[in-house]
Point group: C2
């Protein structure tokens, strides 16, 4: 059976790509994905990588629009999509047309968002934020936990300011590449150790002088791999919260991320006395691409 | 020409080994080293690795004592040398005899030092501290910068307490393995960027939320690789100082480390209004092994 997509939504990150075939009223008709992330492609390789996944959804009689977000628009990506500068609606500027040879597609890449002072950038998250605004409302404090967590103040449908925390990447480096790898397990968990870590990190975010106690506790006290892992995670998330309290203190937080990670942030925020609601990252990405698609139609 | 050592001093770390042939009055007669660090040896491989370097200094008619310190005494090393527990003189307990088959050597491994609350450990640094006490005096605040920096309160010739900061390891992971590697150079330097980083880290040690600005500044402002590298180094050392101010505030600091790294810490401490004197790490290690050797003689 052939699916003819009215348009195609694409979330193209550093390490993989996801695509959806959509009807004119934004119903998902089909879904596909590829491990060919931006990180492994040169500019000329993006079009074939896209066609591998979406060609079966194309109608040879018309041009199908493709709305793409994420690192595909980075300087090292398919083509650079300039940043919109805060304060800005998350998807404001006209998307950038990517060069293609296949006449059945027109590829639009959404711009990222940058902030001048302090300098910061996002690419991909702005689309999730657009999805949140389209589906949930114009004013919120958002946290998008991940490799590079983003904290975002949304006011009247615009990104007022944001801050990136390298928590996920630092966790992975410490757990897998540092001396702590000898102590930190790869599975299982301790809720108590996580909570204790969050409290310690919140209280004193000078993590450089606190990390090694995880190694020492396993050497001296026989702390288990799962306790060490949960402690490290808690310590880092607690330190991230300490460094972002100007976003969350006195506010409810909307968490947009993968469900397991968002649940950890929800627990950590509860320990800080803050309530948080969770929204699925992929749902928000798709909602944001739909919003961008309708904006594009308005201006065509 | 043959050198007959009265005894042999060995500094055996994770990634390499250094040995000195000494006279009865602790004059250095010869020096050797090997890339065979603890990290790549199984217990039975330590004796041959040692003999490769020191055999030429042995007298077949007598047993030459070998005093060794460092990770050689870790659980994964030649044989575990139990920790002395704070408060303790840095080299207090009797060293542990390592099993050998060659009758020309008797190998003694110095114990590390541990602290119960908060849990912390050192192995190798205690010997440098012993060298500092033997050569400089009984009361001091010491900083031993490195992969795992140690801050140490010395009172009446004893280690009263200490704290480990994983600054050097975190710097290397971020500069080489994280997204910051795209921005951080491997050579050159900016004194101004280092100073600005130190101030930022001292003021707000929540580094997780500050690191990414280094990447963003290179993307948005074209910050150079040397500026990014110096900024990262300054930010981390500043955050380390923020987390150890209970050691250095109001005190002079004795820095024991490699000269280039100690100079950075000296600059950072000066920015915090603290004066520091530098001592060569290798000199202090050797002085500490000499002190341990004389203690051993006293008790034999």
């Amino acid at each position: 059976m052939t699916i003819a997509a009215d348009w195609i939504a694409v979330d193209w990150g550093t390490s993989n790509m996801r695509a959806w075939a959509l009807s004119a009223d934004n119903k998902v008709l089909a879904h596909g994905e590829s491990p060919k992330g931006m990180g492994q492609l040169s500019p000329s390789e993006f079009e074939p990588a896209l066609l591998e996944v979406v060609e079966k959804w194309l109608d040879s009689e018309r041009v199908t629009p493709v709305m793409a977000c994420g690192m595909v628009g980075a300087r090292q990506g398919w083509i650079e999509a300039e940043y919109a500068i805060t304060p800005t609606p998350p998807v404001a500027a006209r998307p950038t047309r990517a060069p293609v040879t296949d006449r059945r597609i027109a590829v639009f890449i959404l711009p990222g968002v940058s902030q001048s002072a302090p300098p910061d950038v996002m690419r991909g998250e702005e689309t999730q934020i657009a999805g949140y605004i389209a589906s949930q409302g114009d004013n919120a404090v958002l946290c998008l936990p991940g490799t590079h967590s983003k904290w975002v103040d949304i006011a009247d449908g615009r990104i007022a300011r944001f801050r990136t925390a390298m928590t996920g990447e630092v966790f992975a480096l410490l757990a897998e590449k540092s001396v702590l790898r000898h102590s930190v397990g790869t599975s299982e968990w301790s809720d108590d150790a996580f909570a204790a870590g969050v409290s310690a990190g919140l209280e004193a975010p000078d993590i450089l002088t606190r990390l090694f106690s995880i190694r020492a506790a396993s050497l001296l006290e026989g702390a288990s791999p799962q306790v060490s892992r949960a402690r490290l995670s808690g310590l880092l998330i607690g330190a991230e919260l300490a460094g972002t309290s100007d976003f969350w203190r006195g506010n409810a937080v909307a968490l947009v991320g993968a469900s397991q990670l968002s649940a950890l942030y929800q627990t950590a925020l509860a320990l800080a006395g803050v309530s948080a609601h969770r929204y699925d990252a992929q749902d928000m990405t798709l909602a944001g691409l739909c919003a961008a698609r309708s904006t594009l139609e308005d201006t065509q």
